[in-house]
Subunit: 140 residues, 4 copies
């Protein structure tokens, strides 16, 4: 049973656009922030040093489907679930709700990489100690 | 044969992140800018007045797959194709390349809406005059 | 004695740039968010309806001086003070600190406006009931 | 006589906010983009390698004063002038206009730094070869 993590975001003024609603890109910032919050809650980080290695998680695929707009100062509930853990990648699923109504659903697939001496990401198998932290039992 | 439109973007400093590459959200800004450029090239706009109606195109689904990173001051070629025109929606496909290598592929599905007197979007059939402008013959 | 308000922000990945630090524009988002948080703490909003009027606070001048960089996942303490209340404008001052060291100082001057029927901002004297809420006695 | 450089920006949808105008932070992106465009026009970059040194220009002070709002798809003319060249810093001044009316004025002061082996910026005197390129004679 993979980790679930609940957080929320208030729609900021700079998130809105001239249609008077949150711009569609705001949801990707909320997703990234929630993913990183989940990682921190498990003692991890999206960019971390460990045993002389620099681990990072570049995204290879992201998507978002929108069902209802949100406005300035709306409170958006964000439920993150780890939908799938592959050998080298993790897919996070995000359910967004506002006052009980669904507003959007998103996904991010990130690949586990070590940063080489040349500063380039190289995909690697997800280390055991990372998996141990992510396979929580129940809500955090 | 639907419209194809070619444009480009230079990766700006504010597009980059601490990994030294363009942040994944930058590609959604490039997509939106290219979509709107295509519309303008056809005498349209993503938010336009016509015969007392205010037409707008909220997005219902967006995605992007990343195959290779781009860096500050890289020139990114953007090819937009109208992939599908439905009764009420348009799906745009975006191919991103940098110095000849593919870097990303994205999609945006936008729904044709009129803005009601209450300022809310209401989906409508895509008007004929819009379709006429989008069904170009060949590259613009 | 005008209001003081204390909040904090975590530097997000999308706030950083290729120099590995928070991009200078991130501080303006932090300022705006802190200003709006202060207003909400006093039962106000930067965009609010009252007695049939729509009040808004467009900014006329903003600035920020940077003394030290901040990085991803740094906790930034933000102290907002209302530095000056004019007849029609408010100047907010922002002190940013990270682990006890000063990192930046900013200012925003916003003008009290009502939105006309044409949707345009028109500057007005700050209403008494707004002043009453902003002239707190001590920290909130 | 220091360099002057003229460019323009189209207000993008993602630049706008719920007041229907360009968000105040958009102007800082326009400034940064125009500064970097000016540097490129002179064979420079805000982040460049030369003789084994990595030069960079972190900003220490930025400001913007707004006189009139701009909207989606407005064309904004940007005139950059190098206002002052100090021993270790450059101050750029930016005049923004839209259809002939002034809309904003901004300033950025950036400090010449070399990046140390630890990845930290260390201020240095502006090299002669940089000064030579910036002291253009007339408009570029």
């Amino acid at each position: 049973m993979y980790l679930r993590y609940q957080t929320s975001r208030l729609v900021q003024w700079h998130d809105t656009d001239a249609a008077g609603i949150a711009h569609f890109t705001a949801f990707f910032r909320y997703m990234e922030e929630a993913e990183h919050e989940l990682l921190r809650a498990r003692g991890l980080s999206v960019s971390m040093q460990r045993e002389g290695e620099h681990l990072s998680w570049p995204r290879v695929s992201v998507r978002c489907d929108y069902s209802s707009p949100v406005k300035f100062e709306d409170e958006v509930d964000v439920l993150v679930r780890i939908g799938r853990i592959g050998k080298r990648s993790i897919t996070y699923a995000f359910d967004f709700a506002c006052r009980g109504r669904e507003v959007a659903h998103g996904e991010i697939t990130a690949v586990c990489c070590r940063i080489t001496e040349q500063g380039l990401p190289e995909s690697i198998d997800i280390p055991e100690w990372v998996l141990d932290r992510l396979k929580g039992n129940g809500e955090s």
